[in-house]
């Protein structure tokens, strides 16, 4: 058994990700990672800039950088949430996301650190959710007919049936 690495490699619509963080952020803090928030660099070493250290709702805009096949890296602004600060870095090639890494996490006390170790995977899994337009179906424990109505699969079915 090997643990999955703390990166994710996948295709996605582009660099525009909204990472909603509702579990630990009751005020709906979102982290925008786009070519226009934080730093964007093309091929070459990754630069990291400390973004504004504020608890704000960073919104995303469609990436304005040219859609070439060059490797692009975007580092998001710091987002302050209940238990510390977090910053994500996204590397993409063309429209394909290669990697999402946690650049920095800063927990204010030991208890927070413990919470971070759970929260960060959830933050990253939200990135997967943002790509849900690119999945064809959803596997999960068997849902009831009632639960189906609220499921991602039902949303996908509706999109297809129109």
């Amino acid at each position: 058994m090997r643990r999955a690495p703390i990166v994710l490699t996948s295709t996605a619509a582009g660099l525009a990700l909204v990472l909603g963080f509702h579990t630990h952020a009751p005020h709906g803090i979102a982290l925008g990672v786009t070519g226009t928030t934080g730093t964007t660099s093309t091929t070459g070493p990754t630069t990291t800039t400390a973004g504004s250290n504020t608890a704000s709702t960073a919104t995303t805009a469609p990436p304005t950088t040219s859609a070439s096949n060059a490797t692009r890296t975007a580092t998001g602004t710091f987002v302050q949430y209940r238990y510390g600060d977090i910053q994500l870095r996204v590397t993409a090639q063309g429209s394909k996301i290669d990697k999402i890494t946690v650049v920095q996490e800063d927990a204010t006390d030991p208890r927070s650190e413990e919470i971070n170790s759970q929260a960060i995977p959830m933050l990253q899994s939200q990135a997967m959710s943002a790509q849900s337009a690119n999945i064809d179906g959803v596997s999960g424990a068997t849902y009831t007919s009632e639960a189906y109505a609220q499921s991602l699969q039902a949303a996908l079915d509706k999109l297809g049936i129109q």
């Binding site: 759970q118 995977p121 899994s125 997967m128 690119n134 179906g137 596997s139 424990a141 068997t142 079915d157």
Partner: protein, 254 residues
């Protein structure tokens, strides 16, 4: 390629069909999907352990013999034998209270039958999602495989992994219906993992192996790999644990 969808409410859940066709007449597609739906209802009528007069229920009570039951009962119980051996005993329909219970495999088997029927009817590519257990064939679009998300056990609108390619993706977990999974070795409820996903060639076996892994947790993974399948476990502390050749992308690990 044209995409045609249909949903069928059967076996206490919802089956979703997504077929991709090129040059197949609309009425042919309709007939193929209607047949697939009828096949699911027949499987439910034969195998339901909730319906007291189903052949499976009558077999469990000893009112009929296996020879008197519809032929597919023997076929499914044969698959149950195979799955029990492949799972290292962690999937055991004979250890269930009330007699042999193939429920952990029937849904996957029925979906695989439906997919095979669609393919035989001339459908180029398709996906059948049996309430969370997914079988696919062909390519949804030229040059890309089917992409199946694995649900986050704690949030129906999040996914923790994307699986690309394999025909079968089955997930077991207790989060949808709050039921217990019994450890066939002790008869006691087991909560080794929050969810277990098994991917590979055959959905009936993947479904059974996922059911077994839900009880076994990491202890059951070697048997799954030896059977030619790959697994992703979501552990109770939210960590993910995937086998090295798991054909997908996992969100994260702590």
């Amino acid at each position: 390629m044209r995409s045609v969808r249909r949903v069928e409410q059967v076996m206490g859940t919802v089956f979703s069909f997504d077929v991709r066709v090129e040059g197949m007449a609309a009425d042919q597609i309709h007939v193929a999907l209607t047949r697939a739906g009828a096949g699911l209802r027949r499987a439910d009528a034969v195998f339901s352990t909730w319906k007291p007069d189903s052949p499976m229920s009558r077999l469990r009570r000893g009112e009929i013999t296996l020879g008197e039951a519809p032929a597919e009962v023997a076929a499914v119980l044969g698959l149950c034998h195979t799955a029990r051996a492949l799972s290292g005993g962690w999937f055991d329909p004979w250890a269930m209270p009330g007699g042999v219970d193939p429920t952990g495999l029937v849904k996957g088997w029925a979906a695989a039958q439906a997919a095979a029927g669609l393919r035989h009817a001339g459908v180029d590519a398709g996906m059948v999602n049996a309430g969370g257990d997914v079988v696919t064939f062909g390519s949804p679009e030229p040059g890309r495989p089917w992409r199946v998300g694995v649900r986050d056990p704690w949030d129906a609108h999040r996914i923790v992994a994307v699986v690309e390619g394999p025909a079968a993706v089955a997930t077991s977990g207790c989060y949808e219906r709050g039921q217990h999974v019994l450890d066939p070795r002790t008869g006691e409820p087991s909560a080794a993992v929050a969810s277990a996903t098994v991917v590979g060639a055959d959905l009936a076996l993947a479904d059974a192996l996922a059911t077994g892994l839900l009880a076994a947790g990491e202890a059951g993974v070697d048997a799954v790999v030896a059977a030619g399948y790959q697994a992703l476990l979501v552990l109770p502390d939210r960590r993910l644990s995937a086998t090295p050749a798991f054909p997908g992308v996992c969100a994260a690990a702590a």
